[in-house]
Each structure stands twice: as C-alpha cells, then as structure tokens.
C-alpha cells in the first residue's frame, strides 16, 4: 500500500466504516454515548499527544485548555446568547490567549521542570475557575443549549448522543487529519528537532523557543475544540474539567498505544473508555487495572502496546535520545549551558 491514492482510498474506507461503527455495534444509545465520549476525549488527547510525542514534554496543564474550550462555549452561549459557531471561535481564541500566556511562562523550562511548572499552572487555573463568579465558581455553569450549528437553511443540531455522533466523529477526523498533516509539516519536523537536540536545531536555523510555543498553541487549540463540543454534549461545565481524571485519561490514552502513532491516542482512549463502560470492575478495581496496565505496558514495552506489533520502520521515535551517542545524552541530562538556550 505504498501508492498515495491507495492509501487515501484506504483511509476513506476506514473513515466511512468508523462513521458506521455505532450502527455496526447495534446502534443502542449506550454505544452512541460511549463512542461520542471516545471521539471527544480522544480529540482532547491529541492536543496532549502533540506536546508529548513531538515536543517530548509532559504538559500537565492541558486540562486547562480543554476546560477553556468548554467554559468559553458555556459563557458565550449561556451568558451572552451567542451561537455555537461564535462559541467555537471564542473557544479557540481563548485557548490561544491562555496558551500564549502559559507558554511564554512555562516553556522556558524543560523536562520535569516543565511538567512541574505546568502542574502549578493547572492548580492556579483551577483555583481561578472555582473562585471567579464570571466562570460560575465552584458550581460551574448550567443550562448550555443543545448544539446548533445550522448554516442558512441547513439544519445541524444535536441534543442526544446519537445526534452528537456525526459532530463528534467529524471533530475526531479533523483532529486526526490536522495532527497527521502537522507531523509532515515544517513545524512538525522542527518540533522533533528541537525536542531531540536543541543545540543542533539552533544550528539548523531553528528558534527553539518559538517552535515550542507554536506547537503549544496548536495543541491548545486541539484540546479546546474538544472542550467546546464537550460543553454542548454535557450541557454543564464545572471545575471538574480541571480534574486529574481528564489528565490521567489523556496521558494514558496517549501512552498506552505508543507515541507518535497517529491512531495511538484514539486506540488508547477507546480501550480505556470501553473498559469503563462495558467491563467495569468498580472504581477501585478500575483504578487498579488502569495502574497495573500502565505500569505493565511501560515497564515491559516502553514504546507502547503498538511496539508489540511487527516494526513498521526503523524510525520509531523513542524519547531517550539514542543513548549510544554521548553528545545527545548530555543534552538530556544537563542543565543547559547558556549556549544551548541560544541568545535570542
């Protein structure tokens, strides 16, 4: 399947099959509910995936972008009565603004320092949300109207899950497409370069800080779009959107199947949510299973479940820079000397 047209056709068939999936699975409302949740949450996870896989950092503030999308949708529709389209634009802009501020602050750090500072940012964001009446305080915002994306004469509305499916599915496809294209774009390549060897990337003409910020913005937009749709689906937003629940879901979804695999986060999220919906062992049992699976997967096959598959090609991206190369390991281990950070 090397011919691009053949690949395109295959992707098309897959997309159509995906759309029909709920019907193939019996079309019950539970199937629709679960699949809508899978679509929305995996779209959310792709935001983090871009950061984790391509930039090589663990952002713990991504729930805030998801929440920003949802809150923007809620406030614009409930408080100001705008349409869902406006809300989408608002969600994207709000996420961009927040990501810009947070990115400028947090992206100066790397590795676990970055994770820690993004966690701190998430705590502060959550505190703001639960104390600011404009955002509904700790009770959140209720009464979000059903999704209405009608344009002109074409009626596009959704209330129940089955009606949400086309929208959620479309969002997922769009996300997949954008992430796929991103990985083949200049920015995607630059992200990898900056991640793998900042010093060499500088010598290839890249401004590391700018690239990192751009990727951060992109990922925020992806997560925010998912949050926007989630707000309509749930009709309620609250501070729980900042919870570790979503964070763990994102991280696990991304990690489970393996990094830099296009369908990875989707698969991971689907696995997790289906287990919760169809084979739950109770809250404690689920936690135990999730934990054991995570530890097992990462300790036994650090490259994710997909690495158990026959290898696709040599360039499976690991995070640890090829350790045989001393220069690269230096980079991963040491406080960056001045020259590694560039001077701009």
């Amino acid at each position: 399947m090397t011919h691009p047209l053949a690949r395109l056709a295959f992707a098309g068939v897959l997309a159509v099959l995906g759309f029909l999936l709920p019907r193939l699975l019996g079309g019950s409302s539970l199937v629709y509910d679960t699949l809508v949740a899978i679509a929305i949450f995996s779209a959310m996870s792709y935001g983090l995936d871009v950061i984790l896989s391509d930039l090589g950092e663990i952002s713990l503030v991504h729930t805030a972008f998801f929440a920003t999308g949802a809150y923007a949708a809620a406030i614009l529709t409930v408080t100001y009565g705008f349409s869902a389209w406006t809300a989408l634009a608002g969600a994207v802009l709000a996420a961009l603004a927040l990501a810009l501020v947070l990115g400028v602050i947090t992206l100066r750090t790397r590795e676990f320092a970055f994770s820690l500072v993004t966690y701190a940012a998430a705590v502060v964001c959550m505190n703001v949300a639960s104390n600011w009446d404009f955002l509904g305080g700790s009770d959140g915002i209720v009464g979000i109207p059903p999704l209405d994306l009608s344009i002109g004469g074409i009626e596009l509305t959704a209330g129940r899950s089955a009606e949400f499916w086309p929208f959620a599915y479309l969002l997922l496809l769009l996300t997949l497409y954008v992430v796929h294209r991103f990985r083949r774009s200049r920015l995607g390549q630059a992200a990898l370069m900056v991640h793998m060897n900042p010093r060499l990337a500088t010598m290839c003409g890249l401004d590391g800080n700018r690239i990192r910020l751009q990727v951060f913005l992109l990922s925020a937009v992806i997560s925010a779009a998912a949050g926007w749709l989630y707000a309509f689906q749930r009709a309620y937003v609250g501070t729980d959107l900042f919870d570790t629940y979503f964070l763990v879901l994102m991280l696990t979804g991304v990690i489970l199947a393996g990094r830099r695999i296009l369908l990875g986060p989707l698969l991971g999220t689907a696995l997790l949510l289906s287990q919760k919906s169809f084979a739950s062992l109770g809250a404690y049992g689920d936690k135990l299973v999730l934990g054991v699976v995570l530890v097992g997967v990462l300790c036994l096959c650090p490259k994710g479940l997909a690495s158990l598959w026959p290898r696709r090609r040599a360039a499976a991206v690991t995070d640890a820079p090829a350790n045989t190369n001393p220069a690269n390991t230096n980079k991963a281990r040491f406080p960056s000397p001045v020259w590694e950070r560039g001077q701009g």
């Binding site: 979000i144 749930r234 309620y236 629940y245 919760k276």
Partner: protein, 375 residues
C-alpha cells in the same frame, strides 16, 4: 484496523423488552473515595426501601429493581453512568451527593427523557437549571437551613461575637450569606469577628484555629460539608486547642459518621438536621419504624439523614407513580412538584413548585458521642 475490531460484546440489555418485567430504578452515588462510605449507606437504604415496596406489592403491580452505579464523585463518570442507566431502560434515576455531578447528569437524563430525583446535592442551580425543568430534590435547601441556625443562635443570646469557618465554594459561601441575612432579618446584633475561608479538601486547621482563638468569639459557625475528613479533623483539632467557644455546624453536615470519626471531640457541638430515627415525630411514625426495622434486618445499620433521604426518594417516587397511574416522567413529576404526599418516612411531606421538599429542622447537640435532639 482498530475500528473494525469488535471490542464491544453484544450488550445484554438489548434483549426482548417483554422479559423486563420489574421496573428498573437507577441510583447514582459515590461508592468510592471520600464520600464512598456514605454513598454506600444511601444505596443500602434505597435497597431496603425497595424490599419494603416489593413486599407490599410493588409499583403498578410490578416489582422494583435497583441498579446502583458509582459516580466516583466525578461528573464525567456520573454522566457515563447516567447514560448506562438510560440505556438499561430505568424509569427514574435517584442521584446526587456532589452538586457538580448532579448538575452534569441532569441535562443528560432530561434529554433521555428520564425522571431525575436529587437525593442530597445542595446547589441552588439544581432546581433553577433550564436543563431540567422537572427537577425534584429531597434534601433541604441552603435557604431553609440558614433560618434555623439564626433562630437557634437568637435563642441563646442577642449579642455575640461570631466567627465563621467556611468552605470556600458555592455551598459554603451561599450558606454563610444566607445565615448572615437571617441574622439581619431577625434583628440580631452580632459582630462577625472573622470569616475564615478554607478550601474544601483541607484537613489541617491549626492556622484557622489560631485565628479563631485570637478573635475570642462567643460562637463559631462551621460550614464544612467534608464529612469524610475535613469536618472531623476540624472538630478534633479545635477541641484540642481548648478554644472554648461552642461550635455550631450548619444543617446536615454532622452525620453520625462524622461523630464516629471525630470521637469525643464532637461532644458539645450544636447543629440541626431534618431526620433522626429515634426521635419524635419519627420514632413513632409507622412508616419510619418499618424502614428502621428493615435497615436493621437487611444491613444491620441504623439509618441516618442521608439514608432516610435516599429511601424516601424511592418511596415518594413510588407513591407518585401510584397517584399518576403511569411511569410517564411528566405525570410522575406532576404528582410530586407542588404536591403533598402523605405516608412517607418523613411523615406527610410537601414539595414546593420548584420541586424542593420542605423540611422541619431539629436542633441537636452531641453528648458522650450521642445525638441529643433539643427542639
């Protein structure tokens, strides 16, 4: 490949609906985590009540079957569970410990056309929300609660220094506002010496307690709904610091489990609540006696207020169905909202037009680890 993989087995509920003779009733409440213990108690109470109802011939001649789901105190999971129950074809969902979880589930249930009765969650938005025009709630509202605290304090003294220790969220801030408004209404000349706000999850209160000592209050009003950890911790640390001023806890926050966890530190606190199994008028109420006996028999437990609310919600729904003669959501809600329903474990209860059940409050104090009702 992935999408074609049949991950999902053919669900069991897709069977022929004729076979589903019992009426399914969903219960969504935390069964794990900080509120897990109370949630489990509530689900037991609902089950006891279902046994009683089924022994008495069921609802519309059909037995009631209870399906319990754990919301893990997480709205997203609550929503998923609500969807599961909707798919399972429940006639009603009894839910709610945490307000955000209730608020998140409301719209999902309303869209699915399922009647939704809130047992415990207190947020005002639950009854005001456009998402669920047929909202019903059993637990008392903040406004009702505030009046009784003011009245009780007024009976103790007309002039006093008060310190509030308030959880910093919608419930806590709302409750404090309500109480202060009631003070004004009752013309009580109280000095609010200090208001100490703390985050819900806090368990170490030494900083607040030091501030309380400094403020030399006559009374301390605690607004802390963290029954699992926060409130007992506060009571223990407060007792130890020998501050002296009596603590008044807001309505409904002092459940027997709080007293059990706090141990002797709970002695001397004052609070009010809406239900006590062994106190009049409940003690002699035949419905309540049957319920208390059933709890004893089935779960070897004495019901508390939360359990009573859980059981009552099922009982009230059953009575409303009988009145309406159908399971239809609107009809059943109509038989509850704005109506009076006799013969419940709370006696004859009245719902206002917004769906809020009206309560009588009883002030109590704790002596030797036991609740002693004062009025």
């Amino acid at each position: 490949g992935l999408i074609a993989t049949p991950l999902v087995p053919r669900p069991t509920w897709a069977r022929d609906p004729i076979a589903a003779d019992p009426i399914k009733v969903g219960v969504i409440i935390p069964l794990s985590g900080g509120a897990g213990r109370q949630g489990q108690d509530v689900s037991h109470a609902v089950q006891s009540m279902a046994t009683l109802i089924n022994e008495a011939g069921g609802v519309l001649g059909r037995p009631v079957e209870i399906l319990v789901k754990d919301d893990e105190s997480t709205p997203a999971i609550g929503v998923a569970k609500a969807n599961e129950l909707a798919a399972a074809g429940v006639a009603v969902v009894l839910e709610g410990w945490n307000s955000p979880v209730t608020l998140a589930m409301q719209s999902v249930l309303a869209r699915a056309g399922i009647l939704d009765i809130t047992m415990i969650s207190k947020a005002d938005a639950i009854l005001a929300s456009a998402s669920n025009p047929l909202a019903i709630r059993l637990n008392s509202a903040n406004a009702q609660d505030a009046a009784i605290i003011a009245k009780y304090l007024g009976s103790l003294s007309k002039k006093a220094r008060i310190v509030f220790v308030t959880e910093n969220d919608a419930y806590g801030n709302g409750a404090q506002q309500g109480i202060e408004a009631e003070f004004k209404k009752a013309g009580l000349d109280y000095t609010i010496a200090q208001t100490l706000k703390f985050p819900f999850a806090q368990t170490d209160f030494r900083v607040e307690i030091t501030s309380i000592r400094d403020a030399r209050p006559d009374y301390v009003i605690s607004i802390n709904a963290n029954e699992g950890a926060g409130l007992p911790a506060f009571l223990q640390q407060y007792a130890q610091a020998n501050v002296g001023a009596p603590v008044i806890c807001t309505v409904g926050t002092v459940s027997p489990s709080v007293i059990e966890t706090a141990g002797k530190a709970a002695n001397g606190l004052h609070s009010a609540d809406i239900y006590f199994p062994q106190t009049e008028p409940f003690a002699s109420d035949p419905e309540n006696k049957r319920f208390v006996a059933q709890m004893q028999k089935q779960f070897k437990a004495e019901p508390d207020k939360f359990m009573a609310l859980g059981a009552a919600s099922l009982q009230i729904w059953a009575k409303a169905v009988a009145t309406a003669g159908s399971l239809d959501r609107k009809a059943v809600a109509g038989a509850i909202r704005g109506q009076e329903i006799p013969g419940t474990i709370f006696g004859t209860v009245r719902f206002d037009a917004s769906g809020q059940m009206q309560h009588r409050h009883f002030v109590f104090t704790v002596k030797d680890g036991k609740i002693v009702v004062e009025s």
